[in-house]
Every structure is written in C-alpha cells, then in structure tokens.
Amino acid sequence: MKTKTIQIKVLRQDPSSGQEPAYQQYTIESYPGMSVLEALQTVYGKVDSTLAIQGYACYRLVCSLCTYRVNGKLVLACRTPVEDGMVIEPPPKRNVIRDLATEIVTER
C-alpha cells in the first residue's frame, strides 16, 4: 500500500476558555482512499487524543454528522478524500462545543 505523509490544519477552539480559535497543524500517514473523516479519526486516535470531533459516525452518508468545512466548502467528511494541506473547520452558523464538535439542533 502506497502511503504518503501529509499535513492537515484543523481549527481548534473552546468557546468557554475565552481564547481565540486557532489552527493546529497535524502530520499523518495517508493512503489512496483515505477519507477526511478517517484522517480526523487518525489524528484523534494516533496523534492527539484531545482533538474533539463528532463522536458518532455512520460511515455511509446517512447521518450527516460528519459535515465539516473543508477548504472553505461544506462537505461530508466520510465521502471526501483527504489531501495534503487541507484546512478543516466546523460548519459555520453552528454553536461550537469544542474544536469540530458542534451542537446539532434537531427542532422539537
């Protein structure tokens, strides 16, 4: 399997801390077929377990909880191949809990 070392940038924040959001760069091994979701899970699992992403994933285009802003565009992370230099942010207009974990408001 051909692997490649890539870097991705993730916007991190904790709104209750009073600190400004800041980008953090992570280096991971990627391979052809790796999704942005898997890349983020790899960061959490192998590089920095303090990174917060949505805790649930269906991995198959059902839940849309993996919606993030990648290079400025809203995408489903489970279907988007990861690329070197990608910038990943929470979707706009959502309340951020921490990092990429946001409040999902189901109207009720």
Binding site: M34, E38, S49, Y59, R60, V62
Partner: protein
C-alpha cells in the same frame, strides 16, 4: 471534591433514542406519564435504526400481494430461521404485532412503497412470502424521522441529547433511576425515575469489522448486567457476509451480495477461484447469511484471503452500480475506488442477537427495568431473519413503554442511595486525571482485533480460553487508562468509559460461547462443528454479589407443537 450534579425526576426514563426507544417513549407518554428520553448522540442522527436500508417485516394477508400469508406462517419462519432456539412466547407477540406497526407508522406519515394501493414487499431468505416492506432505500431513516416527529408532539416527553448513561441506580433490587454524563459539558445528571426502559441497541463495535455505526458499543448490556439483569444467548452475534475491509475509511460498509450475484458478480479468493461451493454446494453465493459468513471465514482462515483479511468480490460485470447504489458503490467511487473488480470484503458484525432476557411484557428480572429492541433478546434464537429487527423495535418498544408506564403508576417511587451516585461519578471521573501510556482508543482497537480474530465467526475452546486470558490483561490496562483533554466533549473520556463496558461484554460473549459445545446458526465452533439438540436451551449469565458470574441454563419456551419441519 464532590462533583456538581443536577437531579431530574420523571415517571419513565427511556435510555436510547433509536426505533425502540422512541416507540417506548411515545407509548409511555400516551399513558399519561412524564417521560425523559435520553440519547448518547443527537437523536434522529445516530444509532443503528437510521442505517437500516430496506426491509421491515410487515404486511401479511390482504393488505399485500400474498393473501395467504399471516402470523402463523411467519411464526414458523421465525422459529426455523432461529434454528428452533427462539422463545416462542416472544415470537407469538411479534407475529401478531408486526403488521399493525406497519399501519401505525403509515398513519404517522411513513408512506411505505406501494403499487395500486397494495404494499410492495421484498422476499428475503428464510421468509416464506415477500413481506419485507420498504420506503425507497431509506426505510430506517424514514422510520426514525416519523418517530421523532411523534416524540415531539408529546409535551410530556423531554428529550436530552448528548447524554450518556453510565449507571442504572437501584433501590433494594429495583431500578430507581440512572446516572448520566452530559458529553458536551462534562457535567453529571442524576435521574430519579419510577421505571427505566433500556433501548440502547447492539454491540457490533466489539469487532474490528462491523456494519454497525460508531455508537453500537453495547452500553446497555453492561448497564443491565451491572444492575443485576440476566443476560441470555450472549454467544450469538450475527455477521453480514460481505462488508468492505479496505479502504479502511469505508470498512464495514455492506456490499449487497444477494442483489449483485444474480447480476454477474463473483465471490473469489486470493487465487481468483470461486469457493462457496465448498461450504454450501447447493446455494453457493445465495446461501443464508450465517452459512455465507462461515464459508468466507473458513476460506480466509485457510490462508486464501487478501492482505487486509478478506476475500474478493468482483462486480465488474454488474451494470449501473454507482447510480443504483449511491450509499455503497457511489461512496466507494467518491473516496477514490477506481474499479469494482476486486473489492476486499469480509464478514462484519451486524446484529447482536443475545442481550437482556425479557418476557413478553419486556420485563427484565430486575423490577422496574424494561428492555426492547436490539439490546433485548429472545425472539431470534440462533439467527435473525432479515427484516425482523426493525419490526421488533416497534412491536416491543410499544409494550415496553406501556408496561414501564404501568409500573411507574402502580409502584411508589423509591429512593436510590446517594452514595451510589457519588461513587459512580468518582468512578467515571477517575479516567480524567493523570496520564497513561496507552490511549483508550488504542485499547478499543486492540479489543476489536482480538474479538474479531478469536471470538467472532470461528470459535474453539482454545481460541475462547485464549481470548478470556487476554481480556484479563486488557482489563487491567483499561482500568488505568486516562483521558486528558478536559471535561468538554472529550472523546477519549467517552472511549475510556465505553472500553470498560466493552471488555465486560466481551467476557460474557466468550463465557457463553464456551458453554455452547455445538454449532448452531450464528455460533460456529470448530471443535463442535455440528448442531446438537441437547443444547436446545439458553445460557444465562448474572452478576452475583461477589462480582462473580453465575451461569445457568434455561429451556427454550415453546407455545406450539412443532408440525412438519
């Protein structure tokens, strides 16, 4: 320091907001009770129900295209499909209730697929008639949507998302509430409830390859077991034969074998040879899920698998894959899979058959504690037939809600011991402070590898004892695991808590699987490869006072004389 905790009071507490939990909450609310429905992640966007694509065992008789079908035909299908191990009192309830739940969901706006006013239905292996109702290819998602709408309509249901129950509180052996962690804030909530319904779904994520979503970690099994509930048939874990193993970003996504084989797809080993004829000479690739999975696992174990532990499915001859299957082949294409001629697939954990023992009132043996949906067990026996799980959530969700409501009404609330709350919060918080060499996620992956390799599809006394041994070591390491990252939405903290539960469930599976010295349905033992009817009984495990396990066996409940087989 005493952690801050808020106490919320209700008649019925429903834990888990998938198909079963929503239905239970609706029924309890209809009975006039105050209900709190909690879910670990955002409700309607998590759990397993939303991932179910097609079939819902429903129409029987005049409503559909097979007027000869009815509850009695379905009864024997479920009995035989479960290799005669299903409890027939539950099967009776299921068969009589399934059809009405289709109509009920319809009245709530489900809009089932129909032709000329009649329900259309798919026929699945093991079902005598076509009775798998559907709604496009998003049956589960639509079901969850209409259920959430109904939940919203009841003012006496309060829904709380991102709330993870970590303990069921008891008073003198009766369920009295629960302790839960608010994942977003890291704060604890305590529930004081008249009765508790567990609807937390299955535990496929105990295995490295699984078609189940990330939250199918089996919390409810561990919660119930620690509260004194009897766990039954834990050795039975259904696998779906063709789940992708590589690329790992789509690991577990199902390739719909039964649809693509008739269109020219082939299942081959690493030498390029078809192999299913060796394991099921007549049905070959169209064999039932348990036989397909067993054949694939044996082929892989014989060393004729690929580098990622699977065999291959060649779909190059099948037309229009991407357009017809956007959520499998479409997804594969979008992450960069260029051709579909060699997709590596292996059996993935798909449905937890075993679980909390219930009677037809959805009562566990702990007074005030009810269970429904995949976390409960009894009707499927040794193997679940396709389509029955979704209908099960509705048939038994309703009963659980109604019975839990009655229990709360007729029994005065008892008080749990505050010390138990403090102890639980201290236990959960202990993972937050300090440092550990290994992360919770690493240990979860290790557990998943271990269970998949040794206690999954192919088992033997040796592999099971070996797994139990390794679990002792893993448990010791897991108890020391730490989750830096603070209190707010700390995934490592959730993983640390889940890990303890997962190891406990893994032990129950192995212990139960050791007892069953035969092969039946989803349970296959290399050292006892044939069915043996002296094992037509259930194994039950309870936690005794000394923290030890008590294993007993109990007969299969039969309500009808078996006619011709």
């Amino acid at each position: 320091m005493k952690a801050p905790t808020e106490i919320l009071s209700c008649d019925v507490l429903v834990i888990g907001g998938g198909g079963a939990g929503c239905r239970a909450a609706i029924e309890a609310a209809r009975c006039g009770n105050s209900v709190i429905l909690v879910n670990k992640f955002p409700i309607g966007r998590s759990g397993t129900t939303i991932t179910a694509m097609i079939t819902y065992t429903g129409t029987m008789g005049q409503l559909g295209i097979c007027p000869d079908d009815g509850p009695d035909v379905l009864f024997w299908d479920v009995v035989r499909g479960g290799h005669r191990l299903g409890n027939q009192d539950l099967i009776e309830v299921f068969c009589r209730g399934a059809r009405d739940t289709v109509l009920e969901l319809d009245s709530w706006g489900m809009k089932w697929d129909r032709v000329d006013g009649k329900f259309t239905a798919t026929r699945l292996p093991g079902q005598t008639y076509p009775r798998g109702n559907h709604r496009d290819a998003i049956t589960g998602m639509m079901m969850q949507r209409v259920l959430c709408e109904q939940v919203r309509k009841h003012e006496n249901i309060r829904v709380i998302d991102n709330l993870m129950v970590t303990k069921i509180l008891e008073d003198a052996g009766r369920a009295a509430g629960a302790v839960a962690l608010d994942i977003a804030s890291g704060r604890f909530l305590t529930f004081h409830a008249g009765s508790v319904v567990l609807a937390t779904g299955g535990a496929g994520r105990l295995y490295k390859v699984t078609s189940m979503p990330e939250d199918a970690r089996g919390d409810g099994f561990a919660l119930a077991y620690r509260a004194g509930a009897t766990m039954m048939d834990m050795e039975f874990q259904q696998f779906y034969p063709t789940c992708v193993v590589f690329p790992t970003s789509v690991r577990g996504v199902m390739v719909p074998g039964a649809i693509v084989y008739p269109q020219g797809a082939r299942l081959i080993n690493s030498l390029g040879e078809p192999f299913m004829h060796k394991y099921d000479p007549i049905r070959k690739e169209m064999a039932t899920r348990d036989m397909m999975s067993r054949g694939m696992a044996l082929e892989i174990a014989a060393g004729r698998g690929g580098t990622h532990g699977g065999v291959f499915i060649d779909c190059s001859k099948v037309p229009d894959l991407v357009a017809k299957h956007p959520k499998s082949f479409g997804l594969f294409k979008s992450i960069g899979m260029e051709s579909f001629d060699r997709i590596e697939v292996a059996p993935g954990a798909h449905f937890s058959i075993g679980g909390i023992q219930i009677n037809p009132f959805c009562e566990s043996n702990v007074p005030g504690l009810y269970a429904c949906g995949e976390v409960a067990t009894g009707m499927h026996g040794a193997n679940r037939c396709g389509g029955n799980a979704l209908a099960e959530t509705q048939v038994f969700g309703r009963i659980a809600g109604e019975q839990a409501a009655a229990f709360a009404r007729y029994n005065a609330k008892t008080d749990f011991c505050e010390e138990d709350v403090d102890k639980e919060i201290a236990r959960v918080r202990s993972f937050l402070t300090g440092e550990s060499k290994e992360t919770p996620k690493e240990l979860i992956c290790e557990l998943q590898e271990l269970m998949y390799k040794n206690a999954g599809l192919i088992r033997s006394e040796e592999s099971l004892l070996n797994t139990l041994n390794q679990l002792v070591d893993l448990k010791a390491r897991a108890s020391d695991v730490k989750a830096g990252g603070g209190e707010k939405y700390n995934l490592a903290w959730i993983d640390a808590i889940d890990l303890q539960n997962m190891i406990q469930i893994a032990e129950l599976i192995c212990v139960s699987a050791l007892q069953r010295k035969e092969s039946r349905g989803a349970h296959f033992r290399l050292d006892y490869s044939e069915p043996d009817d002296t094992f037509l009984k259930h194994f039950c495990i309870t936690l005794d006072k000394q923290d030890g396990r008590t294993i007993t066996s109990t007969p299969v409940i039969r309500t009808r004389e078996e006619v011709e087989s």
